[in-house]
Assembly symmetry: C2
Amino acid sequence: MHQENEVKLTGLISKIYPPMITPAGVKVARIVLEHSSEQMEGGALRYVKCRIYCVYVAAEINQELLDHHVSVTGFLSVNTQKKLVLHITNLKNLD
Amino acid sequence: MHQENEVKLTGLISKIYPPMITPAGVKVARIVLEHSSEQMEGGALRYVKCRIYCVYVAAEINQELLDHHVSVTGFLSVNTQKKLVLHITNLKNLD
């Protein structure tokens, strides 16, 4: 069966952590994304906010992107603490 | 600026909670979705697993869907405990 896991999210980069290096030597960028929008739900418009920790494997996120609006695509996974993490596969600066 | 918040996720319904009724009298279905898939990340295939609490406003989820594979679309938000929640806007039974 084809399994799907696809996220498209816009938001502000509120934090950029120092990049991590995996044991295999791969750079992992890590940020916090703050999202807010209005979404239709059950026939009513709803104000939505979320704050999500994101990793971007084999990529760098320039410190200049702090407080910038970005659009990311990626997939959801959990970290070792079983917390949801957004794995970014594409990031676009909107500012 | 156009804000985006879109999730497409397949998974198994591992729990169906009793529906909640909002103060406005709207039924809210609540489930846990267990997802697993393989995703491309930084040029390598990665095995991905996640377990996410989902709400489906103004909808019902039949108890017969327990342990069934479904495909959902929706958006991410946080609950009052600041935990990420997937708000389902569409659900399709895949079995």
